[in-house]
Symmetry: C2
Subunit: 590 residues, 2 copies
């Protein structure tokens, strides 16, 4: 049974981040801890009662392709109607178009619950949210008026239509062709890997499509962004004829079976009616608005599935009786075995570290938008951008590890599908791939984020981590160990960063060969910093009426420091000396 970790999230929002300071901004004047709590509790109920029960049936039955379009798994239509009735699609959107204008950090927190309860379901609203965000920022006033209100209400969904067979990570290879036709374009091309690209949940779907206006320059600079509605929309917002968009097939995937991954054909005859967004040639730039927002969201999927896997493994470990340790008089529940407890603590500590880091990252974007001080806004944006690839890459890699451990805790039962542990392993496997693989994230991190300011944003982060950890005081020995480990790890990251910046300047290929280890190093160290801060806060509250909750926070941080954070030493070493072993190896020798 899934229980959304409302108290854990509130700890991060209220106690670790102090998100209530957003209320000081005029734009978010009504934000408060109480408001956040009530949203979280309502979301928890929806996730637990509506989405979770559909997770396994959705996996078993999946979405189904038919000639008339994709039919979603049983129960998904009803669940989506309830989702709309609850006003959830409006979370985070501008009030002007019917949105609720909640801060990003709260939206992220709620997104975790959707992802834990039903990752396949969550992807539809996530992509709609990305499309809404892009339209808000780049659409014309008329486009916004036409498309945004129904999307914000959830009556229509949105998609991101990027990939073509020859253009995956390398979007410069996009070939979809747009021909001018008066005030609009006609689009021709085939797209693949379109998440929720077709379905029966809503009366319309607004595709945000990358294409190339005839005569545009080759490569990235020739790519534009288009709106292509599945059903054409009249000036008064009424639905008209079907546009020329057709779902040719859906993929048979390892997981997220209830999320239809579509091959879409645009313009099989006269061309799909398409509306240019913003200026021609800036499509990729606009798409990255959606993409970056989606990347944070995918990062949260990593630990969302991890949290769900943890809860299931914990339940199993508390009830399964097997084996008799020397210290016990008879058979015990397996949670009594040290190795099982080690596995559970690995899951719990990595999940909490990833949650803290992701919400911290999301909060930076809120500060960047709403803080009164321009200096704070600028610094927060730089930090949020720096952290985005780290969050996407590390939280999803870690989520895969956590889900795999969850299966392992179940022993042989874990390998049987009906236990449910295997689904999390299959579902979470996509998260290190879509919206940019971990390799792509690491390229972004070092090739763009580190290179563009020569490590300034990273230096600022390192300095702040050191300052924070230096300020942790107290006589508690456990806390002191946690603090020291985190501080040592920050030192390792600082040294590895210097080394990486040097090789980035002198021999970029060598730096790229250790970019993923560097990204992971950043994740482990930042996670250690935030868990140490959490432990310091918790250590001061052990006297209150939530003693167990705060005691657990300290223990989790202690475990992370002792058993997880040592990985940083290995990764730092790889970053400092590992690149040559890759670059020095001729591909012919593989």
């Amino acid at each position: 049974m899934y229980r959304a970790p409302v108290r854990e999230v509130r700890f991060v929002l209220e106690e670790l981040l102090g998100a209530q300071r957003l209320a000081a901004s005029g734009a978010l004047g009504d934000y408060s801890n109480e408001l956040a709590q009530s949203v979280l509790e309502e979301a928890a109920r929806f996730a637990e009662n509506v989405l979770e029960p559909l997770n396994r049936p959705g996996d078993v039955q999946g979405a189904r392709w038919t000639e008339n379009g994709v039919v979603t798994a049983p129960g998904f239509r009803e669940a989506y109607q309830q989702f709309v009735a609850g006003g959830w699609p409006a979370l985070g959107a501008a009030t002007e178009f019917g949105g609720q204008h909640t801060p990003r950090v709260l939206n992220s927190a709620v997104g975790e619950f959707w992802g834990s309860a039903n990752l396949a379901f969550k992807l539809g609203p996530m992509l709609t949210h990305g499309a809404v965000h892009a339209l808000e920022l780049c659409g014309s006033p008329a486009q916004k008026r036409t498309f945004l209100p129904p999307m914000v209400r959830g009556e229509w969904t949105g998609t991101m239509v990027l990939t073509e067979p020859q253009a995956g990570s390398d979007l410069g290879q996009v070939r979809t062709r747009a021909v001018a036709a008066g005030d609009h374009y006609r689009l021709f091309g085939q797209k693949i890997f379109i998440t929720w690209g077709d379905h029966d949940l809503t009366s319309n779907t607004i595709h945000m499509v990358l294409g190339r206006v005839e005569g545009a320059p080759p490569g990235v600079k020739g790519i534009s962004l288009f709106i292509v509605p599945k059903v054409l929309v009249g000036a008064d917002g009424s639905l008209g004829a079907r546009n020329e968009v057709r779902c040719l097939s859906i993929e048979r995937k390892l997981g997220i079976h209830a999320s239809p991954t579509c091959v879409l054909a645009f313009g099989e005859k006269e061309g799909a009616v398409a509306y240019l967004v913003g200026e021609p040639g800036r499509g990729l730039e606009y798409m990255f608005i959606m993409m970056n927002s989606a990347r944070l969201s995918v990062g949260s999927e990593g630990y969302a599935v991890g949290e769900r896997a943890y809860q299931r493994a914990l339940e199993w470990a508390r009830t399964r009786v097997q084996g008799k340790p020397r210290t016990a008089p008879g058979p015990v529940t397996i949670i009594q075995h040290p190795d099982v407890r080690r596995m559970l603590l690995t899951m719990k500590s990595q999940t909490e570290a990833a949650r803290a880091l992701t919400l911290y990252g999301a909060f930076q974007f809120d500060l960047a938008e709403y803080d009164a001080s321009e200096q704070v806004r600028t610094a927060a944006r730089a930090r949020g951008e720096l952290l985005t690839p780290i969050i996407k890459g590390w939280c999803t890699e870690s989520g895969n590890e956590v889900a795999a451990i969850g299966l392992q805790v179940h022993g042989g039962m874990g390998y049987i599908e009906e236990t449910g542990a295997a689904q999390y392993v299959r579902d979470v496997r996509i998260t290190t791939i879509y919206e940019g693989t971990t390799g792509i994230q690491s390229n972004d991190l070092i090739g763009r984020k580190l290179a563009r300011d020569r490590g300034a944003a990273m230096s600022a982060l390192l300095a702040e981590m050191e300052r924070d950890l230096g300020a942790i005081a107290g006589s508690d020995a456990t806390l002191e160990t946690v603090r020291k480990s985190a501080l040592e790890a920050v030192g390792l990251l600082a040294r590895a960063t210097r080394s990486l910046l040097e090789s980035l300047a002198s021999e970029p290929q060598r730096a790229l060969a250790v970019s993923v280890p560097y990204l992971k190093l950043c994740g482990y160290v930042a996670g250690g910093w935030l868990l140490a801060r959490s432990a310091a806060i918790a250590a001061g509250r052990l006297d209150g009426n939530e003693r167990e909750f705060y005691a657990a926070k300290v223990r989790t941080a202690a475990f992370y420091a002792a058993q997880v954070l040592p990985t940083a030493a290995a990764l730092a070493r790889v970053v400092e000396s590992g690149g040559a072993s890759v670059i020095g190896t001729d591909p012919a020798l593989l």
Copy 2:
């Protein structure tokens, strides 16, 4: 397309281990490099041409339960008939019963090819082999005469029937009941997780079943081993009536779909006819004969699937064009991207390390049986037993990691089932679980193997690794780096071992809490030692006509030293300080 790595295996057998010295033993007088090579080449052809083509169809269609028994996936019957016609089941069995009496190291090497090409298929013969081995050692002369020849010919298969719902890792909980009935017993009980427990490949299946004679003491000491044929066998070897064994259902699993995992009911009416093996109450001891042999074999499955995943990822990386690095004039195959090459080298180096370690371990059991010197035999047995849990645990954990990277190399295509990369991830996932989870292996390693001789066998291994690495000389800078890294890692393992032995004596629960990190540490270090030795051999042969092959060996070791072996530092630290963080955490706080 799968290509069995015959040259790689020959390198380990001939150049690294010098397995030809087994010929000096009278019992294996006809063993030679040429003999081994011809067996390997024939096995390679069978694996590539017969087993590999059935791997994906077997996954998609799976084995099917019917009222009249399990129907195997299309093509499996024919493949099995060819397997029998080729004489493959006889590999390793005693000549007295029609076996070919090849050394264990060669059987292991061949087993890799079966596991790479078709893991689901491989499990049937593997379990038959285990049953044959147990009967050879513990069966009565009459039992051997009746059951062994058809099993060695492959006309009948064998199974290991251990698990019951309440008795998984903890076999002391077995309840299956045996009632004496003259010269035999009647067996009553239900067993689960029986691999290849029912099928249509052969006319009979010989179940090796754990049960409890009525009135036997509770716990492990009351468990006996029984032979329960699916079809009763007359004194002349002819098949008679069906015994009371019925397959109630098969499991729906994450992977190895073509391997039927059965729920078996014994004795639904009058009791299944069962023959006691050896003495009553020694069942678990006998079962461990099969189990230990199976554990090495499962270790090889880890890197077998890893090797297959590597070959597929390499093929993809050599052909998929995507992205343009700064150093290239146009789009390139993705193997040119440093991060992709890093992933491939991780797969390759871990696979080679695991193969070297597993074959080294198997070879110890050959030496233990056939070497002329009693001293060598004793030492080899101790080392083989010490390494068994390390091989089982580490090679399978590593195989999971390698298969996951293989999927990642494919990007979005990896998540689509028809690409084939996902199947390896699903199939290999069982290997860290069956025949004892990694946690069980680590308990065996520290609670039994280390504790029983207070680390003597481990000390001997550490000393030999140090000696070996000390003896590597030469002016080559790469080789020197490899040697130094390996030596440093051996030092870390030595220190961690001392620390573990201390806490094992004073606070065993604390030691158990870091037993899996310790097991992994052993694997990484031993792998580093064998790759360093391999590199030293290869470095001396760069002038010959296999320059590329040997150059690759050196590069692989260099990568492992720079990017894989640093993990040892992290694990050593966890072993030395991580246990308290687990034991100090009250399960109620999870």
